[in-house]
Amino acid sequence: MAAISVHQFAPCITCHAWSPDKSMVAFCPNNNEVHIYKLFEDKWEKVHTLQKHDQIISGIDWSTRTNRIVTASQDRNSYVWNLEGSEWVPTLVILRLNRAALCVQWSPKENKFAVGSGAKTVCVCYYEQENNWWVSKLIRKRHDSSVTSVSWHPNNILLATTSTDGKCRVFSTLIKGVDSKESNGSTSSYSKFGELIIQLDLSLSWAFGVKWSPSGNTLAYVGHNSMIYFVDDVGPSPLAQNVACRDLPLRDVLFVSERMVIGVGFDCTPMVFAADDRGIWSFVRYLGEKKETSSGSKYGSQFSEAFGKFYGQSKHGMNNDSVESSKIRGGVHENCINCIMPLGECGTLIRRFSTSGLDGRVVIWDLEGQQDLLDYM
């Protein structure tokens, strides 16, 4: 069984992040707070509550080396939390947004973080020592709609974004004084802050969940029309592949190796995608049981009723059984999974990862027992 632990923390979770030693998990239980739980032997206990935001927190990231938490909320603000003694102390970051902040991620060197927003902008924030505060630089142009997801390239300068305008874009976030000049001169080729390096127009619908592969050579992101896109050799002549998903759309992805991606979304079970020797990506299988009853009503009673009405027959039946069986079977997640986080070192093979969803559960998965998948890695 790939899912090694399931815990119901709240009725609904919007996002989650792990502490550097993976002993604590921080998440937002669909309100304006962040709860931090620690695992004591076999029990999870709440150790901290971070209360400062006014509205739902849409993104959390916890830096591994500097142990800072950054939160982004629909209240248009972002806070950086530092642990002082046993208290988490917030520092307001003035993002200068007039819409919700939707996603946030620390850069690989943890000296910057990026926030995507409903104001069609991306804020790249860095720490200014003299004034002891975080400064926000905005990438205002280019996006035609909300920025749903951001992801940093391993080089700490390139940032990929996805938007509800269907496009995936890569920007340079070179900031003088923060990004020191590399000796190999590669940074000088990323000219100025906010420059659009590449724009990928592969999807006709909302785009979500962009991630870079460990080497930074490949990008993966999903479209709301049940597609997942893989782009190799991101640069002047990228190689894009569209993979159609059979079922409901995905919301987030994670590279567990250079050639394997886990996608999570409305099907409530992680999907595995892998690239073969020729570099062609395709769907491999679901991880764990997909929530399906047998041949009769394939998609659960809610659908079979709708289908029944749509087709004007009760062929699929008002199967009362199917209500029970899908509950008994109890897939691991019972509602959309909207967040997937690695539980290993970034950049190395990731065997373990965690997912959280609208059902309020955090599930930890381990690929150790999945021999057929390990072969792909």
């Binding site: 919700a100 409903g118 104001a119 029309n225 159609a244 409901l248 749509f310």
Partner: protein, 157 residues
């Protein structure tokens, strides 16, 4: 990589119309030979190249409609149709459903049921109609798949 989503810059409209005429003749002959599945495949081929010309779109639809209405054995048809055609077929099923013409709708609905079983929801979601907000299938309105709030104040669409 002009997949089902790529707008291939098609030839001019005249060339397309001529191709469609050829197709129509071929389809009629296939139907006379009682080969409805080949007829449908012929009709669906080449409609990848999306064109903005309204005449071409109508002509494509007429051809596909002719082939669709001639299908009697839906299961058999779907078994012999390559999966690469599923998305396009679904597109034309929705086109048929939107006409409101009773026999067309009945046939399209009959095929839709089987095609969904085979191709899954993804196939339905890949139809552009899903984002017009009007003809959204009821069974796609679940669990926040197209949440109303995503079109309100703090998101700009």
């Amino acid at each position: 990589m002009a997949g089902a989503e790529g707008f291939v810059e098609a030839d001019n409209a005249e060339a397309i119309m001529i191709r469609i005429e050829h197709k129509t003749r071929k389809i009629e002959s296939l139907l006379k030979q009682y080969k409805p599945v080949e007829a449908l495949r012929t009709a669906l081929e080449g409609t990848h190249a999306m064109t903005r010309d309204e005449r071409c779109k109508s002509a494509h639809w007429i051809v596909v409609h002719r082939a669709l209405m001639a299908i009697k054995d839906v299961d058999g048809m779907l078994s012999s149709l390559d999966s690469e055609y599923y998305d396009i077929l679904m597109k034309y099923l929705y086109k048929g459903l939107s006409t409101g013409d009773r026999p067309t709708c009945e046939q399209c609905l009959r095929i839709h049921e089987k095609l969904t079983e085979r191709a899954g929801f993804g196939c339905i979601l890949r139809q552009k109609l899903a984002f017009q907000g009007t003809a959204l299938p009821m069974y796609c309105k679940r669990d926040g798949l197209f949440p109303q709030h995503m079109q309100r104040s703090y998101f700009s669409m």
